[in-house]
Symmetry: C2
Subunit: 103 residues, 2 copies
DNA sequence: TTGACTCATAGACGATCTTCTATATAATCC
DNA sequence: GGATTATATAGAAGATCGTCTATGAGTCAA
């Protein structure tokens, strides 16, 4: 993971609407329609944010007929957060257990 | 730490120039002039980015005469990353060791 | 006190981002 | 095939962001 990847990750999560969407698809597969229903923005806006999350590798996609289901890629999120900590909080991630988990 | 704080943190780190500055003041106190010297942007631009990092609580400040020194608040960074993981990668932060460190 | 130095602030400009409406694409049903 | 449904894409408008130059504010030394 390059320095640029860390910036891309940060940009991807740097929006309230996007974080709301991330929360909705954090622990389950959910369709675009179901996401839209729980948000205060239009369906194209939801699709746009999902595209940004997709390009950053933060969500996984499963197409089923007409519907498209999304779920958060928790492993990727954890890795990116780990990179952030190693890069910007190195003195706080010094224990072996943490280092192993984040590596 | 509220949901809004997590967004503010993400916004604060979502810029390549800012991450470069963060790296420079990660493990030492460094003056604005010294930061500017190592960057490819003007001094006001550096001050602007430092203000954003300051408002997000990501840097500490020490004024000494004419100079102002900044250093990264690693503890805050670690906490914010921890919040991100708990919120968006809950299944990946299930070990006790990690939970304790992030709490 | 004057001049030099360090940093912050103000204002402007261009680029990027978020959102919308309108529409295209693709799958399903009658 | 034609209508309906689910999602993506295109294009535009407005807001936000990053950068610059110019300048203000505070500090130090002569």
């Amino acid at each position: 993971m390059t320095a640029n990847d860390v910036v891309l990750f940060a940009k991807a999560i740097a929006d309230a609407t996007r974080q709301q969407i991330m929360k909705l698809c954090c622990c389950e597969w959910i369709s675009v329609a179901d996401i839209t229903e729980k948000m205060q923005v239009s369906q194209p806006t939801v699709s746009h944010h999902l595209a940004i999350l997709r390009e950053a590798g933060l969500v996984e996609i499963r197409v089923e007929g007409r519907q498209t289901f999304y779920t958060l890629n928790q492993n990727r999120i954890a890795n990116c957060c780990g990179q952030l900590m190693v890069k910007f909080a190195p003195d706080e991630v010094s224990t072996e257990a943490i280092k192993q988990t984040l590596s």
